[in-house]
Amino acid sequence: MRFELSDDQQLLRSSTRDFFTKAAPLEQSRRTMEQDARGFEAPQWRQLAEMGYVGLVVPADHGGQGLGAVELAVVAEEAGRVCLPGPWLDAVLGAALLAASGGQEELLRQACEGHKVVTIARADAPFAGAAEPAARVEKGRLRGTKYFVPFAVASDALCVATPAGIVLVSAPFDVTPTPTIDLAQRFATVTFDHAATLLGPATLFEGVDRLAAVGSAAMLLGIMQRCLEMTLAYVNTRAAFNRPIGAFQALQHRLANMLLRVESTRSAVYRAAWCVDAGDADAPLACATAKAYAGDAARLVCGETIQMHGGIGFTWELDVHLFFKRAKTLEQFYGSTEEQLERALEAAGYTER
């Protein structure tokens, strides 16, 4: 029995941290976030793909790395630590969906190599409570609208959820960017009138959704860990009333709460990832748990990070808001807290209504 990562996984962690430190320093990421309409830079994207990060969980004979959910969590945590801008997680999930569907070998290979960007379009409405599917397949064509499509502006193909199953459509797309608070993400409304290829039934999402939960929760973990580190550094240096503000119990107890959330998220995320890889019966409950808890925990930790930094914490200049905003997006997407809670109830057998 061992909670620690294996030697290979630890190597992946350290090499990923080195890579992101060099390839995605926050100073550079901020320029991308603030100025690049596509939300990522092509050279960095190719590097990411060359390192194998895009095809991370795609089987090796389909052009991927053939790694599991634990490795996904390791990389996602590091991506969270640097608030990585761009479609990495969306593309990982797009590739995982293509791999699960089979039959799109060439596109999958190009996606893993970084030559094509493939993401997933699911939302039927911009606000909660969609009554009707907003995009349908009729006579082999996809017609209608999807909202909050990740990185649609840069996508070469989209996997689209419809009542008839999941279909694949190819660029060009009619894209209306819809900027949100999260500077690391790019969303758009996409209106379709495209020839559609059926990828498979909606049940293909089951495995992908677990990876989405693990990946996004791990990214939230990295965000939280980084925020806690920034806050600790700040309260140890910032002085008020002739002492570092970290000496005040009012802050100490709240910092202890932050650590409690971070470490509990770590337990939940890596246990969920392990359950997925081990095919453990607890996997559905563990994945829903990790994502639902991480979303709440990150909101608290990032919020406290702003609060403890005081006025400077509310400025655009300080990096803290990038993490705060990214956390909110991760919380609401990749299976929102509301969805995860329902999945948890179902997985635990609390299905009576």
């Binding site: 029995m1 620690e4 910092l255 470490e263 829903a288 209504r353």
Partner: protein
């Protein structure tokens, strides 16, 4: 990563499950609800249960073989706790003796003390209580004043202990006494006192549940034989602190088992009435998620033990988590059940599944005893986060 139990640990768990299947007559919950049950009869029920565990070799499992141990690993001890919780077995009566004093005697006591005290402690023939807190020394335990002054072959003990769990039923008490008023930590000694010693009076204290599971103990010129000193004079604080570390097993797993059982019963109770909907449904789901996070913390702790690492300050985080979750859970349960959740177990109409009212009241204790949530957060802030002194 590998979160599977080893074949040895699995074998231990299965053997224990089988043993519980044949030896646990009925869940503790049912013992508690028995209309004929009194506080005294419940103590005897727990004593009988402890004896069974002792005879089967399940107590003091991690101790050296001559003291009943079987060289059990920390993993097996945590599995033991979790399985007993899952089976809803009665809590072990002499938990303070076995959990705290036993390790103190094994590591710091004399051979004569071990021979004298350990067997009846394990068998439940002598029940121990813990004399640490005082009216003027709670979170700031080292400010304790109960004095032990050497007079020939005896200590003369004067002072008062309070919040003494099991005091009303105990035969013995282990007491932190002040032997040097000028030395805050080095002036404390660890002394064993028989509660029927002249000059010692135990008074039950009624708790908010109406029970008197704790009490206060008064010492007025009580003469205690010198050989009842554990370790040397002035070693009491060090012994107490090392012993408290043994209390810190992987308790998250055991708590999550217990909470999961009660949470399932709550969900069933709500579903029966068509109330597992809307905001109630969301509240149950959030409790479920938090409890599963606790389970993940417990599994992680178990794996940490399995790698041969000692529990460190994680135990502070663990205690904050389960005790505060307990409160949220019990409060929410009563809210969702409606007024019927407040019914005392003696009341007509009280739910037969869980004594929700008692659990609600009891949940207020967990954030106070064994180091309050405030003290635990101080520990985390200082020792884990390395924050400056206030």
């Amino acid at each position: 990563m590998d979160l599977n139990l080893t074949p040895e640990a699995l074998a231990f768990r299965d053997e224990l499950r089988a043993w519980l299947g044949t030896n646990l007559d009925r869940p503790w919950r049912e013992g508690l609800r028995d209309p004929g049950a009194t506080e005294d009869s419940l103590v005897e029920l727990r004593r009988a249960w402890q004896r069974k565990l002792y005879q089967a070799g399940y107590l003091g499992m991690g101790w050296p073989p001559e003291w009943g141990g079987r060289g059990a690993t920390e993993v097996e001890k945590a599995i033991f706790e979790a399985e007993l919780a899952a089976a809803d077995a009665p809590p072990i009566l002499n938990i303070l003796g076995i959990g705290l004093l036993g390790p103190a005697l094994i590591h710091h006591g004399s051979e004569a003390q071990r021979r004298r005290f350990i067997p009846p402690m394990l068998s439940g023939d002598e029940i121990w209580c813990q004399g640490f807190s005082e009216p003027g020394a709670g979170s700031d335990l080292a400010s304790l004043k109960t004095a032990a002054v050497l007079d020939g072959d005896h200590f003369v003990v004067n002072g008062q202990k309070v919040w003494t769990t099991f005091g009303p039923w105990a035969d013995w008490i282990f007491v932190l006494c002040r032997t040097d008023p000028k030395d805050r930590y080095g002036g404390i000694s660890f002394v064993l006192c028989k509660l029927d010693t002249p000059g010692i009076t135990v008074r039950p204290l009624r708790q908010i549940t109406g029970e008197s599971e704790f009490g206060e103990v008064f010492f007025e010129d009580a003469r205690v034989p010198k050989e009842n000193l554990v370790g040397k004079i002035g070693e009491g604080w060090r012994i107490a602190m090392t012993v408290l570390a043994y209390e810190r097993g992987a308790s998250s797993l055991a708590y999550s088992q217990r909470f999961a059982r009660d949470l399932r019963l709550l969900a069933l109770a709500l579903a029966e009435r068509g109330r597992l909907i809307g905001s109630g449904r969301e509240k149950v789901a959030r409790l479920l998620v938090e409890n599963e996070v606790m389970r993940a913390n417990g599994v992680r702790m178990l794996a940490t033990f399995a790698e041969g690492k000692a529990p460190g300050t994680e135990s502070s985080l663990e205690k904050i988590f389960w005790s505060e979750f307990d409160q949220r859970f019990r409060e929410t349960a009563i809210d969702l059940l409606g007024p019927g959740g407040q019914l005392l177990r003696s009341s007509p109409g009280a739910r037969p599944d869980v004594d929700w009212a008692r659990e609600f009241l009891w949940s207020r204790a967990g954030t106070i005893y064994s180091g309050s949530s405030e003290v635990q957060r101080n520990i985390v802030a200082k020792r884990v986060l390395g924050l400056p002194q206030t």
